[in-house]
Symmetry: C2
Subunit: 145 residues, 2 copies
């Protein structure tokens, strides 16, 4: 999807835009890492790098039911994702998002799909496939540099 089709990039407070800024969707289409920030139940932030997939509407991550990040997201469904291309580090995109769904991935198929996207050769389902879930989040505001 071409970013411009979705809107003229109206700005809200803080200069945030409700559509991907022109030229920045490539950061999501390429296999860059997304640093996913969540808020812990105690109110502190947490952030770790994650694989993701972008379909023009949602960002999807592979995760497991046994980790803190899922607990955080279920407690506070707002997250933020920071994406940088290491080859062009002075252009970045932040997407502020809200949780759309958590879907079981008991065969690890989505993990394998992401592993292939990120360049692993012939990836196998992970040992923790039984606990795997797909976390889908919907961006509602973008900012950039």
């Amino acid at each position: 999807m071409i970013a411009g089709v979705r809107g003229a990039g109206a700005r809200g407070q803080d200069g945030a835009m409700n559509a991907i800024p022109e030229g920045y969707e490539e950061l999501l289409l390429q296999p860059n890492f997304g640093h996913l920030a969540t808020v812990r139940p105690d109110g502190d932030p947490a952030v770790t790098p994650m694989w993701f997939e972008w379909d023009g509407e949602l960002l999807r991550f592979t995760h497991t039911t046994r980790r803190a990040k899922l607990r955080n997201i279920e407690h506070n469904p707002h997250v933020a994702v920071s994406v940088l291309d290491a080859a062009k580090p002075y252009q970045y995109l932040q997407a502020r998002c809200v949780l759309e769904s958590v879907t079981p991935d008991p065969t690890g198929a989505f993990y394998v799909k992401l592993a292939e996207r990120y360049g692993m050769e012939n990836p196998a389902p992970p040992p923790d496939s039984a606990d795997r879930v797909i976390i889908a989040v919907r961006p509602f505001a973008y900012s950039k540099q």
Copy 2:
């Protein structure tokens, strides 16, 4: 400073460690980007990539008084930083930190120091030097992969 000197890496809840895991301080010593997560006054997370400096005790960022991130940190002094080396992306470090100080940098000298660390040649003080500050944060828990 050698990480091992500061403790045996005792673990708290969530597997967090109170000293830098063995072998991971290099991620902070090299000029990798730090994805700095803060919590906005409305409770949502925010995250953007930042230059930083690590002195073995504190992480320091250059920032300005005119941006949302400083407002966030003054509202909630807990932050988190995710650091990845693009050349070895399957090893990362998360440092959860608390604000130590915000210090004026009216000549932009610390901006220039960081610009040099990140490979800019003969960097000049930025146009917004008058508003520049140094944000120093103190890590209290680490997690890794």
